[in-house]
Structures are given as structure tokens and as C-alpha cells.
Symmetry: C2
Subunit: 506 residues, 2 copies
């Protein structure tokens, strides 16, 4: 299978149907394909060869969708970077994958010179946003003014994209996914009625994350329309649903909360909405009940997975939301993969017994970019080891009880403690630190730092946050800070995170 196939199908079946609606700009399948063919030719023109990486730093837009198809059309490899990252983080990833071309939106454009200087492999930085490009950047339309090219038609096991994810070691790793990885996950989701046939999908969650891209691929398989907002803003989401007859959307739990809490919630016409897919972090059961009350005609569907699984591994179907017990689970293995809970020797645990969740199937990543050792550890025995602790019940429902990786999920974003600790520890006042997630009503979990100071030094949260923001994305920066005399340690000198979480979760 091949990502661009869905565009060819749109051309054959519904050339006049809207492929994308961005704000109020409607682009049909025929014109989308035309832009893709021309932009792809432009990419080749500036030296993108088969397998070369083409990165993007942007909020959602119709340009993003065109980038998503033009890159494989030209033979390139997608690298959607987190637009919320710090410049330092972006530079790390661009250098790590040796990106040839980078697309930026208006918010990132001012950093272009710095990125170009730090990443000599970059041949061109493309301005993929409205308005005139700042000096030194190439306009998207200019690159797309070339004559059109034919699809190079990569597909199957070919590398489609590199998707960066945090790591327990403190640096981001590039997850290599093939065309088949992405499309098998989308097909398996579709087989479980992930999205509504003949509908319109609202993209409000960031497209640079695989959760929303999974929706993009699934909607594309059924030839529907992408309604795109630059980013999540509850009033805009509520307005767009009515304005564009949206049937489906993909959100993280904190976004669902923001919607149902929104003062104008009841003023909007949400009658077309049929499906809300959620995931990326646990759904509090009270919030689930509130959302179901507020949207009684909507089928809620949970997708559980991770970037390494392209991304869906388990689905909690709308019908399974009726059962209180099942509603607290992550669902059952999607049809395209198998889930096993295993003990430390990789032997399958009996039902109801906690172990590590592992997954096997054609959605499992090719590996980590340029990290053969971490790849072979993660994929040992042919199974992706998720790092999530959990159990399976006697009906095959999977329950997540612990993240074995030291990770915080805040507002749907994964924050690896080690990465934040590296930054906090580099502050001159800090002797030792631990970063943990503590329960937070709005974000699910909040990043919290516990710090031991150098003698005679002080540190306040505002100073620490300002320091951290220079190095890491704002969502990773500790919201709150506790100063202690000493951290609880194991005999081996390892911080007792579980004990810290209990002490600081008030």
C-alpha cells in the first residue's frame, strides 16, 4: 500500500469533492492532487532524492496535507516535527535525520536562519503559510510552480516517515514507519468503524502527532473531507462542527474537557457529530460520563497505541463504552495486530496478571532511525515492547496500570522525565532533581520538579521555568516546584519515583 493511493482514488471517484477545508479555503481532490504533483516536482528540483528527509514545523493547515502527500509522491521521507518544541529540540531532530528540506509556518519562520545555520544538510526552507514569505525563504507556491511530476509510487515496506518521540534516555528518537505500517493501522481502525463513512473529519489536534495523522490516513481511505483548524481552541472547534457539518473528530481527553466546559457549548449546533475518537492519555471516568451526557448521539471510540505502532494497537469500540468495567480499559487488540502481556522473561502472563504490554503486527515500526541497539531491544523476539504495564482480562480487554517508562502524559503530550531532569539539573542552583507527573485537573498530569539546591542558593518556579524554556518545549517545562533537602533513593542510588509521586500528589 502507498500513502498517495488515497489521492489517486479521490481523483478517480470524487474529483470535485472537498479534500481539505482550512478555515474557509476549500480545495477539492482534483486541485489538491494538482498542487501535490507540482510541489513534489519542486522538491525534486531542489535536490530531494528517493529516501531524502523532508521535515515540517507547522501548525495544522491544508499546506500540511499537501506536504504529507507531496513528500512520498516525490520519493521523500516525511519528518513532521513537533511545532511546540524549542529551537534546540528542532535542531537536534533536523540534524539527527539529516533533513534536506524544511517547511515552516509563520510562527517558525523567524527561526529559519538559525535552523539553516545549525543544519548544513538543509538545502531549502519553504514557507508553507499564508502571506508573503520572509526574506530568504521560498514560498510554497513558488516551489509548486514547477511542471507536475508522476508519482514515484513508493509503498509497502518502504520508509514513509520518521516520527520523533521522546526517550527514556532523555533525547528524542526517530521512529521509522513504512507505508504499510501507517496504512495497516488505518485499515484496522476502519475495520472497527474508527470513522464515519461519507463524513467529514475535523483536525484540531496537532497533525505533527501520529494520533491525528492516523485520522488523516483513515479518512483518506474512505475518501472523505478534512476540516482543518490550525490548532485546538474550544470555541473554534465548536463553531467549525456546525459550520462544516463535521461528523468525526479526534481529541485528547483534556480537549474533550475544554469543549464540554466551554461556556458556549450549548449555543452550537453539533447535530452532525457522530464520532469522537480519543486517546493519548487516560480518560477520567467522570469526564467520560460528562462527555457522553453532553453528546448523547456521539459514539466515543478510544484508540490505544504509540508512535512505534503507527499508532493503533487497541480499540475500545463505541459499544464497549456501555460497560462501566470495560470503559476503564484501553480496549481490545485491533484486528491488524496481536497483544500479549508478558513477564520479565517475555512469557505470556495469564489473564488478570500484570506484565508489560507487547504488540506484534504489520503496524510495528521498522525501527528507530540510526539506533540499531535501541531498535533490537524494543523489538526483541519480534514484539514491540511498549513499556506500558498492564493486564488483559478474560475477554481480551487490556488495562493499563503503569507506565514502565518514566514518562508523564500532560495534555496528551508525552514528557519523558529524563529529558526534563537533564535540563533542570543543568541550572547552576540545582544539585539534584527529579521530575514527576502529579495529578492535574486540566492536563491529566502536570510536570512537577522536586529539587535539592546548592547550599546558599535559592530557586523559584518562575526562574526555573524561564531557564527551562530556553531548552525544551513549554509543555515539558515544570509547572510546579518543590525544594527538598534530599531525594528518597534506593540502595543503588536510584530515585524512588513512586514514593516521590505519592508524597507530592496532593
Amino acid at each position: 500500500m502507498d500513502l498517495t493511493t488515497t489521492l489517486h482514488r479521490g481523483r478517480q471517484r470524487t474529483p470535485d469533492r472537498a479534500a481539505t477545508i482550512f478555515n474557509d479555503r476549500v480545495t477539492n481532490y482534483r486541485d489538491t492532487l494538482d498542487r501535490v504533483r507540482r510541489f513534489a516536482a519542486g522538491l525534486v528540483g531542489v535536490g530531494v532524492g528517493v529516501g531524502d528527509r523532508v521535515a515540517i514545523l507547522s501548525l495544522n493547515s491544508d499546506y500540511f496535507v499537501q506536504y504529507f502527500y507531496a513528500t512520498p509522491w516525490a520519493g521523500g521521507v516525511l519528518v513532521p516535527l513537533n511545532a511546540r518544541w524549542s529551537v534546540e529540540e528542532a535542531i537536534f531532530a533536523l540534524r539527527d535525520c539529516d533533513a534536506r528540506v524544511l517547511l515552516v509556518d509563520a510562527a517558525w519562520a523567524p527561526q529559519a536562519a538559525r535552523l539553516a545555520e545549525a543544519c548544513p544538510s538543509l538545502r531549502r526552507i519553504v514557507y508553507a503559510d499564508d502571506g508573503q514569505p520572509p526574506p530568504g525563504l521560498t514560498a510554497f507556491a513558488e516551489l509548486a510552480s514547477s511542471s507536475a511530476m508522476d508519482d514515484v509510487a513508493r509503498g509497502g515496506d518502504d520508509l514513509a516517515g520518521i516520527f520523533y518521540t521522546g526517550g527514556t534516555t532523555g533525547t528524542a528518537k526517530g521512529v521509522m514507519l513504512s507505508h504499510d505500517n501507517l496504512l495497516v493501522s488505518a485499515l484496522g481502525g476502519l475495520a472497527e468503524e474508527f470513522l464515519t463513512r461519507g463524513g467529514r473529519l475535523l483536525h484540531a489536534a496537532p497533525m505533527f502527532h501520529l494520533a491525528d495523522l492516523a485520522g488523516l490516513n483513515t479518512e483518506a481511505l474512505i475518501g472523505g473531507t478534512h476540516v482543518i483548524l490550525p490548532s485546538f481552541e474550544p470555541g473554534s472547534v465548536l463553531g467549525a462542527i456546525g459550520a462544516h457539518q463535521v461528523t468525526d473528530t479526534i481529541l485528547v481527553p483534556t480537549m474533550i474537557q475544554a469543549l464540554v466546559d466551554h461556556p458556549s457549548f450549548h449555543d452550537h449546533d453539533l447535530a452532525t457529530l457522530r464520532r469522537v475518537v480519543y486517546g493519548a492519555s487516560p480518560m477520567p471516568s467522570l469526564l467520560m460520563a460528562r462527555a457522553q451526557d453532553a453528546l448523547p448521539d456521539v459514539g466515543f471510540l478510544q484508540g490505544y497505541g504509540m508512535t512505534e505502532l503507527a499508532p493503533i494497537a487497541a480499540i475500545l469500540a463505541p459499544d464497549d463504552h456501555g460497560d462501566q468495567g470495560h470503559r476503564s480499559s484501553a480496549g481490545r487488540a485491533a484486528p491488524h495486530c496481536e497483544i500479549r502481556v508478558v513477564d520479565e522473561n517475555d512469557a505470556e502472563c495469564p489473564p488478570e496478571t500484570i506484565g508489560e504490554i507487547t504488540v506484534r503486527g504489520s503496524n510495528v515500526m521498522l525501527g528507530y532511525w540510526a539506533r540499531p541497539e535501541e531498535t533490537s531491544v524494543a523489538l526483541r523476539g519480534g514484539w514491540m515492547h511498549t513499556g506500558d504495564g498492564g493486564y488483559m482480562d478474560a475477554d481480551g480487554f487490556v488495562y493499563i496500570v503503569d507506565r514502565m517508562k518514566d514518562m508523564i502524559i500532560s495534555g496528551g503530550e508525552n514528557v519523558y522525565s529524563a529529558e526534563v531532569e537533564n535540563v533542570v539539573a543543568s541550572h547552576p542552583s540545582v544539585v539534584m532533581c527529579a521530575v514527576i507527573g502529579v495529578p492535574d485537573e486540566r492536563w491529566g498530569e502536570r510536570v512537577h520538579a522536586v529539587v535539592v539546591l546548592r547550599e546558599g542558593r535559592t530557586l523559584d518556579p518562575v526562574t526555573l521555568r524561564a531557564f527551562c524554556k530556553k531548552h525544551i518545549a513549554a509543555y515539558k517545562v515544570p509547572h510546579t516546584l518543590d525544594i527538598v533537602d534530599a531525594l528518597p533513593l534506593t540502595a543503588a542510588g536510584k530515585v524512588l519515583k513512586r514514593q516521590l509521586r505519592e508524597q507530592h500528589s496532593r
Copy 2:
């Protein structure tokens, strides 16, 4: 993905649910898995190594299903042979693929000695049927008495099976399909609501054909129950639907006709039936209308494809059956693949223009077993060239207008003219012959021979049929015969089949 994954899922979710119901023998998922694990160990015990071929010559049964899972479980490669073949044809395929083990049912058991003698690679012939095995054959239960083994867990692009299909050159070719080929086709079908969730699938069409095996894989993905009849007999089918609350079945048009024509049709309780999937040959529109009248609560779904496409390439969804025009099409490209109609230079034809139907996707075969040249011709440019002529309309519906391969479809079976001609021409009275399909009310097409005799010789249909039956399956043998003075030839000496069909289609 891996064929055996569906069994593991059944074990995790619904160990007590019936996996197979054969006549009145019910076997749940737990026991099916247990037999599979033991039979797989038995296969390894008699020398089946990873990649070795394990063939079967049998009507449908629960043994067939266990064979279907035990073979990949042990690391072997499935080779389901057409149980309607002549002994000569079976020997050809067994030798062609170098089969290590063969399973036979009671009807084939008497030929075991002859097959063993002709195929020295065969280490064991297993009796996979009820009752005592004849002398010299190993009982299925005996081989399954070994201790159980773990799944070798082949999957993805690994070879799953070799499926023989006729060839234009007159000899059968083995189509190599991977686990992913088979499961991508099933997943794509499921995404188009191929079968009813939570239902029971009746297998009355032969499992040795990929059409029914596609149903097996699809039903397995949703963890349902296989209700199995040894072969198609209209009274038994009608009885089984009511007796076992069948929701879905897969039939060829001639079978649908036999059902609605059956005198007891209205005496049966068919209320549970929701879906009839049909394919393998064109559906006459009058028959379609009659079937819809007779079964008003059933959604009819057409699958178009071929063995080389594992097998689904296009689907005519139940909703598309409402439109008279679309109903005469083969449907639209299934979500897992792309269809293009191309001219003789492999350039895409505009809509409504006839060309050859080609298909690209992860369902396209690995190739023909031991036939690299025929493989590269069929798969040139990365597209499977189906040999079917047709066009696509402006909505992406595909219409088949001609089979470019010289092939007859009789009762859902493909009959390659060249193969029958080889046999007819070897009759001592025959100088020259052509075999064509002529319209037939019952079989869709009927195999018809047009023959030029040696001077002074005679030939009658009964004699010709008896002669042919010694070499080829009964369904390939000419039903009818015309004796002519000369065949219409092109200047190059090629028989003008189209002209012959017009002359003899009365």
C-alpha cells in the same frame, strides 16, 4: 500480520465460542487451538520444516480449518488443491511445489497410493476425514497426538501459501501469497463491511478456492464462527442457515440461482441471514433482481478479484446495489489497493475507455512459484495485470467487458481454454480444435469444443467427455461439441475465438 494471530485472539477473547460447526460437530476456540498446536507438532515430527509445503485435497470440513492454521503454526506453507481435479492434475501440482505432506479426505483416499508413487517428495499422506483411515494413511488424530508446539509465528511478507490457478499456457501456476497479502485483503474487505460483526459465516463454496478462504480470514479477524458444509448442496445450505443462525455466506452466482430456484426455498427460516457475498463470475441482472426479491433483508456484496490479488481488488457494496447502472459493475477499488485501467503501453486510460485492469497494493501476490518470467510479465511496473478488459466510470466504478485471457468461467470455476484444448487435441480423431465458453443458463458459461476431425474419423460428445475426464477435472471437460470443416483463422494462423463465440453462442 500472521494468519494464526486470529486464533490467539480467539483464545484471549472467546475461548468458549464455537470456532467451527461442521455438520453437527461444534469445536470451540480453545479446542481448535489445542488441535492446531498438536497437529502442527505432528507435521514437524514427520519432517515439515520452515517453508515446506503441506497440501490438501479435500472438501470442506473442520479438519480443513485446522489444517489451515496448523500449517503456518508449524512454519509450513499451505497448498490447498482443487478437490475436483483429476489425479493427473493433482500430481502435477504436488510435484510442481514439491509437497512434503498431503492431507486427503475420504473421496481422495483411494488415490493415495498413486499420488505417493508419483510424488516422491511426499513423506506422509494424512487422512483428514471421519472414520478409520485406509491402510497406509496416517490418521489426523494420530498425527495430532504429539505434544503441542509453540507457534513459529511466521507472518508479514513470509510465504503463507501457494494457490494453483489455471494458466493461458495450459498448465496450472502456483500463486505465492504472503500472510500480509491474505490479511490485507481480508482487512480491506472488513473495512467495507464484507461480513457481519458478531455473526456466523456459512462455508458452502469450496475452501480450496481463495474466494471462500477470504471469507475464512475475514470472519477470523472478527472472531466469529465458521459453519461448514462439505460442499454446496442447496437444500443443505437452506437448512444450515436456520439450524445454525447463519448471518453471512459467500456464493457464486450459479449457487445463488440454485438456492432461489430450490422448491423448498420458502419452507426455510432464513431470518438470520444478513449478508451474501458473491463473486468469481458475472451476476446476471435478472438473477440479481430475483435474489433481492427473495431475500429482501439481505445486503448483497460483490467481491471482484483473482487469486493473484489474495483475492479482493474491488467491492460493490450493498448500498451500491440500489443503482441499476452500478449494479452491473464490479464495484470500486477496495481500500487496500488501487485500480487503473491501462492501454497497451501501460498508460492510464481516461474514464469510460476500455483497457486492461491493473491493480497495485499490498494484496498483490509475491509471484508465481518457480516462474520468474511469468511473474515479471504479470507484475510489470509494480502492477498486477489481471488480463481482464474493462473500463472505469467517472465515479470510480469498474466494469468488466472482456477477459483478455482466453478463459471460461463455468459455475464460478475458471477454465483456461488452452488447457482443455491440449487435452482435446490429443484425442486420436482430432486434427484441430478450439475450446470456448458459450452462454449457459445454469453455469453462466459452458465449456464448448469446436473440432476438426481427421479424415474418415468420427467423434461424439460422450466419447470426448470420457476421454477428457481421464486428464482434467470434470468441470473443465467440454459439455458440448461442434464438428466443423475448418476453424476461422487469422492470417497468422491464430484461431479467431471471438468469431467462434458469436457463431456458437446460440
